[in-house]
Amino acid sequence: MDQAYQTQGTSQVQPKNWLVESILVTIFCCLPFGIAGIVFATQVNSKFTAGDYAGALKASQDAGRWTKIGFWIGILWVALCIIFVFFMGGLALLGVGLANEYNP
């Protein structure tokens, strides 16, 4: 690692690889997007080590994009589930109300 930094020079910092974020999305958002994030995370590191700085930067952006897509779809899914629960709960209450009205 240190050797890689020396040969790269000090001006180029390794781009963020989004590994931790994509692991979190994989475990908690239950979608293949987190795994796509991990795939690009491997590319960030291997391309940077190979001296392909532009490629590493591109892989970093792709990793970030897939991680964020997975995260927001996960949030959207949770939101839909909450709405669904409240909707069904509302219907159930309404149903109980109607049932009481017709069968006192």
Partner: protein
């Protein structure tokens, strides 16, 4: 720093939620979209129940729901500690292990292997599928 406070507050809220509302008990929490659509387990299936199990110190049960979650917690904790140390020192702490090509590749390999194995409905592999002990 502001970002760190927001994230910590969210994590604390999630921990309290999964402690007081036990995900093992029933249908309160959202189900996995991948499992709902395909009937197969994804690498994250069982993680909510595993989290509730961990928070109630039921470690064996946590392993049986999602071993990947339990195994990745030390890494996530390490990352969190490094982030706090960086904020304290006002200079980012380099989390070297996450930038080692070998480590990242083994994470990818582990996740995909886990995904395949936990869907094999035969004895040693079925231990990886989320089940109550």
């Amino acid at each position: 720093m502001k970002r760190l406070i927001i994230i910590s507050t969210a994590v604390l809220a999630i921990v309290l939620l999964y402690f007081f509302i036990d995900a093992r008990a029933g249908d309160f929490f959202p189900h996995c979209p991948f499992h709902t659509l395909t009937g197969l387990y994804c690498p994250g299936c069982g993680s909510q129940r595993a989290l509730s199990s961990l928070l109630h110190a039921d470690f064996l049960q946590a392993f049986r729901f999602n071993i990947l979650l339990v195994l990745s917690l030390p890494l996530l904790l390490f990352s969190a500690v490094a982030a706090f140390a960086g904020a304290y020192k006002k200079q980012p702490v380099k989390q070297k292990i996450f930038y080692s090509p070998l480590f990242v590749k083994s994470v990818l390999f582990t996740v995909i292997l886990f995904w395949i194995l936990r869907n094999i409905p035969a004895y040693p592999f079925s231990l990886l599928a989320p089940h109550s002990v």
